[in-house]
């Protein structure tokens, strides 16, 4: 067991997978010698050679398409996009080709590939470096999308993604890359795709979140104790966005009768809306308050001076919790 942060967890996952299977290769902008802008692939070229970990010319559309070709022909490419907002040229291939290959070839060709990308705000980055576009990926049938928040889940989900026979998008919140460390098992293990993680049990309110907002929510759950000392809150880290752990969320809301979904993405047409709709369909009889969400606003992610207005923060979550808990019919 080693105590590592999220970045190191990415490196370890790739290292373990490359050690086990020579068809696993990683490429993307600057991933070779330097190990990418966040150093996630640092050391892999030195260990596995330039043919298995290399810099690719800047062309995200090509990364996705070439990765698809490799995957169809027996390899396990792990493509790194430098940032989610800069990986948009790859989106065409993700939507039009990668997600559809199994279906359109009636199972003859498949796309067992992984695309990793740093995402999310709160790191004082430049324009296009803070987007949270998980809803766009989750909306595409044929791919799966995961967003780990802890080192344990990061390593386990990336290994599960590499093992998966389907194309997987791994969203990595930049804010959490070096935020904290955790004990992580050495060697191979996986975290199942589609399973949530219950951070804490509770009876009065279910909070569902993922990525960097797990940290905001954990703080909020502490803060709310000062005004609502008896409130018992169940906190769920979704870990997988699509497929997501409906069962865990539905069971939880049936027990608590209240739901708050927290995500930093812009508000409209987002992942929280999907979760709320599903809970509404399945738990209507148990509900004690309107289903709620705490999100960013529907604006272009502001540059640094305005970003704090847009970001979810623990106090915003606290206010949202109060509204749900204090609701009277």
């Amino acid at each position: 067991m080693a105590v590592i942060n999220n970045i190191k967890a990415v490196t370890e996952a790739l290292d373990v997978a490359m050690g086990l299977d020579k068809n696993v290769i990683v490429f993307g902008e600057d991933v070779g010698l330097e190990g990418g802008v966040f150093r996630a692939t640092q050391g892999l070229q030195q260990k596995y050679g330039i043919e298995r970990s290399f810099n690719a010319p800047i062309s995200e559309a090509m990364f996705a398409g070439v990765g698809l070709g490799m995957a169809m022909n027996g390899m396990k490419p792990v493509v790194e996009l430098q940032f989610q907002g800069l990986g948009l040229p790859a989106l065409q291939n993700v939507i039009a080709n990668i997600s559809r290959m199994r279906n359109r070839s009636r199972g003859k060709w498949t796309a067992p590939m992984v695309i990793r990308m740093p995402m999310g705000g709160g790191i004082r980055a430049l324009e296009h470096h803070s987007e949270a576009l998980e809803a766009i990926f989750a909306h595409i049938p044929g791919i799966k999308t995961v967003m780990p928040s802890t080192p344990y889940d990061t390593k386990g989900l990336i290994l599960a993604a590499i093992e998966s026979p389907d194309p997987i998008i791994v969203l990595e919140p930049t804010k959490l890359y070096r935020a904290f460390k955790q004990e992580v098992p050495d060697g191979y293990y996986t975290v199942p795709i589609g399973k949530g993680y219950k951070i804490q049990e509770g009876n009065d309110l279910t909070i569902v979140t993922y990525g960097a907002q797990t940290v905001d929510c954990m703080k909020a759950v502490e803060m709310i104790k000062s005004t609502h000392p008896t409130a018992s809150i169940e906190l769920i880290d979704l870990r997988s966005i699509q497929p997501w752990d409906k069962k865990m969320v539905i069971e939880s809301v049936k027990k608590t009768g209240r739901l708050l979904v927290v995500s930093e993405a812009v508000r409209s047409f987002g992942v929280p809306a999907e979760i709320i709709a599903t809970v509404n369909e399945n738990c209507f009889d148990s509900l004690k308050a309107p289903l709620a969400r705490c999100t960013g606003y529907d604006v272009v992610i502001p540059y640094d001076r305005g970003e704090g207005y847009h970001q979810v923060n623990p106090q915003k979550v606290v206010e949202a919790i109060k509204k749900v808990l204090d609701y009277k019919f």
């Binding site: 902008e29 600057d30 070779g32 010698l33 330097e34 802008v37 290399f54 810099n55 010319p57 800047i58 062309s59 559309a61 090509m62 907002g85 800069l86 948009l88 040229p89 709160g122 004082r124 980055a125 430049l126 324009e127 296009h128 470096h129 508000r267 409209s268 606003y297 529907d298 604006v299 272009v300 502001p302 540059y303 640094d304 001076r305 305005g306 970003e307 704090g308 207005y309 847009h310 970001q311 923060n313 623990p314 106090q315 915003k316 206010e319």
Partner: protein, 370 residues
């Protein structure tokens, strides 16, 4: 034409007027330019360099965001923007264009405001057709092509100039834009500032092309390679290229052979990936030293003038930064107001909600990081 078509990119021919010591080695290729204009160009190059240095310091203190410096690339940036009219022509920039922005007439104040994280800095003043920094690499080539198409279609006389790096030339969109631009013969000057590095990826891992200029050949666009650290050569070719495009001959591509002397951005460390010897070989060719030597030899510049210029520019930079520090924040309305021509009903509600929250908890605006 003196340059375009006369230098063959397929033979890797390059336009050069002065050597590394600022001595004119190719007098026949020297442009017609007044001493006054040369001094003006040099002053902007000097200003940009000092601004880069200052911003680096401020960034290390956490007072500016990460930014991309033009250090080492000032000669070509000043050259290609000096030869266009900011009112009539368009500059569709990349993100590493400080010297070009200054030449276009963007203020230091705005540029610093932008790197302090305030979008207001991205707005060019009236009469300056300079687009905001373009972070998504490659897409500026299409935008410039569209602008140029409109100029031609509407019978206007403007030219669009756009630039990217050697890495950027790997994005398919640059080829796609050039192809369209040539088909419609639109007045656009495509520029590549080949500074040899794309973050940690060197040009040789970006392309097997002999050079960047030849990438235009397949589209039918004439192209030319120039010593981008040689102000006179850069100016001469840029001027001819803009005139070429303006006179209805269609697009042209210039590859400026230059070198990134600094880090990729103020948050990366080139020592990890860049051979020290390569860097040291390139330093003597840096553009300010060369142009200054030329000016001194010509008797139009002196160390006294240099000292005075440095003092004046440093004072200006520092006082503009002081203003920026005082004025970098903005009200919450600013994140909502520019989404649409008018706030939608839904956004009005969201703004009201945000205002109510931040009136109650103003300290949470900083998200804990500044």
């Amino acid at each position: 034409m003196k340059y375009i078509g006369k230098f063959d990119p397929q033979k890797d021919e390059i336009v050069r007027v002065m050597d590394k010591d600022g001595k004119i080695v190719n007098p026949k290729l020297a442009p017609t330019i007044s001493d006054e204009e040369v001094i003006k160009a040099y002053s902007i190059m000097n200003l940009s360099r000092r601004q880069d240095d200052y911003q680096n310091k401020m960034q290390r203190q956490g007072r500016l965001l990460s930014f991309l410096s033009s250090t080492g690339q000032e000669a070509c940036e000043v050259a290609y923007t000096m030869v266009i009219d900011p009112k009539k022509d368009f500059f569709v920039s990349g993100y590493r264009n400080n010297a070009a922005w200054l030449t276009m007439g963007q203020s230091i104040r705005n540029i610093m405001l932008y790197w302090a994280g305030n979008e207001a800095g991205a707005k060019a003043p009236d009469g300056v057709n300079s687009l905001p920094p373009n972070i998504i690499i490659g897409s500026q080539y299409s935008q410039a092509t569209g602008i140029a198409f409109s100029e031609k279609y509407q019978g206007k006389k403007g030219v669009a100039v756009t630039t990217t790096g050697d890495g950027g030339m790997s994005e398919g969109e640059t080829y796609e834009a050039m192809n369209f631009a040539k088909l419609h013969e639109v007045p656009v000057v495509f520029i590549c500032e080949n500074n040899k590095w794309a973050i940690s990826t060197p040009t040789v891992q970006q392309t097997k092309s002999l050079n960047i200029a030849i990438k235009a050949i397949a589209t039918g666009i004439p192209s030319i390679k120039v010593d981008g650290n040689d102000f006179l050569a850069s100016y001469a070719v840029a001027k001819e290229a803009v005139e070429f495009a303006r006179s209805g001959n269609g697009p042209v591509l210039i590859e400026f052979d230059t070198y990134r002397l600094g880090a990729h951005s103020s948050s990366d460390a080139p020592d990890v990936y860049r051979p020290k010897s390569e860097f040291e070989d390139r330093v003597p060719y840096e553009p300010l030293v060369r142009l200054k030597a030329y000016m001194i030899a010509k008797g139009i510049w002196s160390e006294e003038k240099q000292t005075a210029l440095n003092e004046e520019q440093d004072k200006h930079i520092a006082s503009e930064f002081a203003w920026v520090e005082q004025n970098k924040n903005y009200p919450i309305e600013d994140i909502f107001n520019y989404q649409y021509a008018e706030l939608t009903e839904d956004l009005k509600d969201q703004l009201a909600e945000a205002k109510e929250f931040f009136a109650k908890y103003p300290e949470t605006k900083d998200g804990g990081h500044h």
